[in-house]
Symmetry: C2
Subunit: 473 residues, 2 copies
């Protein structure tokens, strides 16, 4: 597997060249991080549907366990169980409106990954970079376990485990573990671990940072070791459940689908799971003993256990919801970890927005009232006050406000409206409001999909590399 | 699935254009022959190994359930559960020696299938046509269930069920059901059902024809119906056993492999199967309660049940061996059907050559002595005399001889030597004589293979068609 080693070293060099300012060496983090044998063990798969332009190109890469949909070009990269979901890529003829420009698209958008090592990373949505509206570029980048790259052009970056770059262009940046960034355009920055940072030009800015000691408990990443902490333990305990669904070629859902609903065949469905109409459960989501009401969606890598979601809930990529009751239209952001227990459940009222990268890990039952913004770290009812605000109050804010470790600056109304609009967009795109004919979304379109499974050279000099593959309509 | 219908009609027209002399309309044979839903249900798969040049191109085709290895180009065709095994294609730099010419090859050989409907057909080996040494062409052709195209360029032909074209170039021919042809170059010919015809220029010619009434019992094919008869019933009874092996992505062989042996993961292994060193069991072979001695090989679509093969046996494509004991180096030709029973077994002595398309279907125990050529139709010990000859006697023949319905003309020694050489070549190529390092063949090289699974569009206008796929190293 020498060629694989050469490939990794070449990627490390490319990333380090980008990260010479800030000076950062990704090598010690990634050498030996994934046992090479794993890169031969898993197959990659891509979806064929009548609804998405089809164009795949893979060359000089390992793709083990990775998932592709839409137009994707991958060269000189290692994508280990990475999810590249290209079903929201922009189309030829679309117009991309941003900051006063309306840019007509000359061709279908393509996800281009070059010289990257992406580990269990989610890549989704489409490029929000007006400089590259037809290319969703990820280049010279290392991203580690369960990081999310969402609508973000990423060049020359290192992303720690459970970090998220959302609707942000990042060049030559280091994103610490569990940091969430939604901040326009960044270059040559180090974002400390546990930072939750939402910034929209001069309009508003929200910042919270998890206390380093808290964070250690949930996720830590040191050179020479894989990521550790409660998040990894939670995931590792459930790893074996994925085995079966990847072992078989075709899989029937164990119950009949309600109208408009779809359960990806690569999702895990554990006993006592019930879903309503227009529910969308994405690949690698994990649902156990839970009820997903009409229009709810469970995105990639999310876990919903022993919980009741009362409809039109968005559970974003990587979020975990355990022993919780969520009112209608509760939004749970990327990689949030909401854990009640059988004895003391978590209740979240209708219309709440749980910020990405929020940790609620209860020692006692907690109830969060309707229409609140929730963030930070909550363990007891007493923690709620310092880590939530009624959306109405937030909407009235302007200027600068701090609450505990959270600092808000700017126009609260724009912040709340921005969030609400985005949630509506997600629900619409996912088909939550489909009446059978109109307002079809991913839930309805994902019913018509077939998967193609690809494997690397099993032996020889090229062991672990995939052949060059081009797929067109 | 309109596009699939259009494709079929286009293929029918192309074949009929070729078959206007002899006037033959393939349409009534093939319309409705395979329920269209089947063409969406099965996945196709191709093998990636370090040992074979890799080059696949599939376009505007359905490939349901088909298997590909080596360099294969398929366009405008329907290949339903077809086996295209390109591991013996010639390589760039090889020399192809034939009839006084030694032709250097300018590029790796490719199997090219264009405008064809091939149903459960086996395509194997390499082009023996000196006019196309770098292209194994199959074009404007319909071939039906369990036909074999072996080393044969086939253009503008119709092949009936269980027919075989072996080392023969055929243009504009109709090959009847269960006919076997190995005859150099043919054009505008109809080969009647049940003909077994081996001709090598002026050197020798062997002809046998199954009685039409006998043949009816085993295989018959009428326009508007699928093939019928004992052969189809035998196969259909065992169809369900293939389901499980195609349902899972990776499959471990239920016993540990002896040195040098390989059992294709798409073969069926039923209980009480034992194999020796350097045994090769190909995809879609079916082995039950049988013992395959060192160096035996079981080729695609063969069935070996309740039998003992004592080593270096060749069981060719589509052959069936039931309740039989075969001495060392017994060769059983294409699509032969050898059926003893628990009460009266079939015994075949060492070094026998069972001609392709032989039927031995016993009413009483039969023993065929060592080093005999066997052909035709045998049910009782009394039938043996008229359907076998000692190889030594055959070698001494020259001129013309008839024995029962068999007619032989020419040089018996060349005929026997030709067969013996071919058997040795098969054993060598399959690795029967491998000592661990030297004389490696398919058995050893097939251990290092990974399979890639591809599916068609599941819905929409293109339903049933596969996307265009190009694969290179």
């Amino acid at each position: 597997m020498e060629r694989l080693n050469e490939l990794l070293e070449r990627i490390i060099q490319r990333v380090n060249v980008n990260l010479r300012e800030p000076l950062f060496d990704v090598g010690p983090y990634v050498r030996g991080l994934v046992p090479w044998q794993q890169l031969v063990k898993f197959y990659a798969f891509y979806g064929i549907t009548p609804h998405h332009p089809l164009n795949f190109h893979f060359s000089r890469s390992n793709l083990s366990g990775s998932y592709f949909l839409g137009k994707c070009h991958v060269t000189d990269s290692i994508l280990y169980k990475t999810d590249i979901r290209g079903d929201e890529l922009k189309r030829k003829g679309d117009f991309f409106a941003t900051e006063g420009f309306t840019i007509p698209l000359q061709e279908d958008e393509t996800i281009r990954v070059r010289d990257c090592f992406l580990i269990k990373t989610l890549v989704h949505n489409n490029s929000h970079d007006p400089e590259h509206p037809e290319e969703f570029i990820i280049q010279n980048t290392v991203s580690t376990h369960f990081a999310n790259i969402h609508g973000s052009v990423v060049e020359g970056c290192f992303m720690g485990p459970f970090s998220t770059v959302d609707l942000t262009t990042v060049h030559d940046c280091v994103i610490g573990e569990y940091a969430y960034v939604q901040a326009g355009e960044l270059s040559h920055r180090q974002v400390p671990a546990g930072t939750v940072w939402v910034k929209s030009g001069e309009r508003f800015e929200f910042v919270f940072r998890h206390h380093p000691e808290t964070l250690q408990r949930y996720v830590r990443f040191r050179p020479g070791s894989p990521p550790e902490g409660l998040f990894m333990e939670f995931i590792d305990r459930r790893k074996a459940d994925y085995q079966r669904i990847f072992d078989v070629v075709k899989l029937q859902t164990p119950f009949s689908m309600p109208p408009g609903a779809s359960f990806n065949r690569y999702a895990v469905i554990k006993p006592k799971t019930q879903i309503g109409r227009n529910v969308l459960v994405a690949q690698r989501a994990y649902i156990e003993n839970s009820w997903l009401g009409d229009g709810a969606n469970a995105q990639e890598n999310c876990y919903i256990l022993h919980s009741r979601l009362n409809g039109n809930n968005v559970t974003a990529h990587g979020a975990k919801i355990i022993h919780a009751d969520l009112g209608p239209k509760v939004f749970v952001g990327f990689n949030s970890f909401l854990q009640g227990s059988a004895d003391h459940r978590l209740a979240i009222g209708p219309g709440c927005i749980v910020m990405p990268h929020t940790i609620i890990d209860l020692e006692a039952a907690v109830h969060i009232p309707a229409e609140h913004l929730v963030w930070g770290y909550i363990r007891t009812p007493q923690d709620v006050a310092a880590h939530s605000l009624p959306l109405a109050r937030l909407s009235a804010l302007s200027g600068e406000e701090t609450l505990g470790a959270m600092r808000f600056k700017g126009d609260g109304r724009l912040f709340v409206e921005g969030f609400k609009n985005r949630i509506e967009h997600i629900l619409e795109a996912n088909g939550a409001y489909c009446d059978g004919a109109a307002q079809r979304g991913h839930a309805q379109q994902s019913q018509d999909i077939s998967f193609n499974l690809i494997q690397p050279y099993p032996e020889g000099e090229l062991k672990g590399l995939y052949p060059t593959i081009d797929i067109h309509p």
